[in-house]
Symmetry: C2
DNA sequence: GTATTTGTAACTATTCTTGTTACAGTTATG
DNA sequence: CATAACTGTAACAAGAATAGTTACAAATAC
């Protein structure tokens, strides 16, 4: 799979914004730090903006800044903003054979399991704020 | 992404084997239930065999059966056997810019977070046995 | 008004998963 | 012991998702 690094990049972006306090940061600058193209960053910023985590400004001297204090942004919000359809594991690609007893009934069981696992992940993410991330980064 | 459904299929496979008790089940039969090609099933069975969850037998009248009772197979083993490199989220594709303070230090922080999240998932999976899955399937 | 910056579309490249064909090796069974 | 039935696996094609790139319209500070 082309492994999905959007959450990792989103956290990186937000850490940069957090470090720059109230100042507008340009997508070019973030792209240089992440080591990718500025459009990739702007795409992610779009999602973060819709989630009301950041505020962007077009035009000369524009850029992006945090919409809230790092203490008030938790990683679950970031996760959901970056990966709106995140799931720890995927269900069957083709629907199983409904004429087979297992095939007919396994999907519901897997769905329930999936929901429970996803919940465990989200619960864990909820415990961390962007401020925690920034603190960890600075401690190194 | 081509979403990875290998864990879901692995559980499906094992549920079929569990239901067939000690009898050899053929990859063709499993493939028909999963609604895919038999080679896809055999590939997964290979991993399950290496993890000592199943025993396969080549030749006429061959097939695969569980290596242990369903009560003694937990879903974490299945997860690891099906997805040896599973991670809930991926890290940066390109290493970040080491000249940038955030770029230089964010990876380690994300790695730690990743490890913690993965652990939460594994802990959850550990609580379920194949017998639990089979029971849920039958209860429907 | 001009330079700067975001937002976004459109397309390509990359990478991973799944599906398929083919065939060598193994084994039960008549 | 020949044959049919299976697994194991390689090799490749197809499919699907992410990431990278180019281009340009729209917005805005100065």
């Amino acid at each position: 799979m082309a492994a999905n690094s959007q959450f990792a990049v989103a956290v990186h972006i937000l850490a940069m914004l957090a470090k720059s306090c109230e100042e507008n940061v340009k997508s070019d600058c973030i792209a240089a730090s992440v080591n990718t193209n500025a459009v990739v960053i702007r795409r992610l910023l779009c999602g973060l903006q819709q989630a009301k985590l950041v505020v962007s400004q077009t035009g000369a001297n524009g850029g992006t800044r945090l919409a809230r204090q790092p203490e008030n942004i938790n990683l679950l919000e970031v996760y959901r903003a970056a990966l709106p359809h995140a799931e720890v594991f995927a269900l069957h690609r083709q629907t199983p054979n409904q004429k087979c007893f297992i095939g007919k009934n396994i999907s519901k069981v897997l769905e329930n399991l999936q929901a429970e696992i996803d919940e465990a992940v989200e619960e864990k993410l909820l415990r961390y704020s962007l401020a925690d991330v920034l603190e960890s980064v600075e401690r190194k």
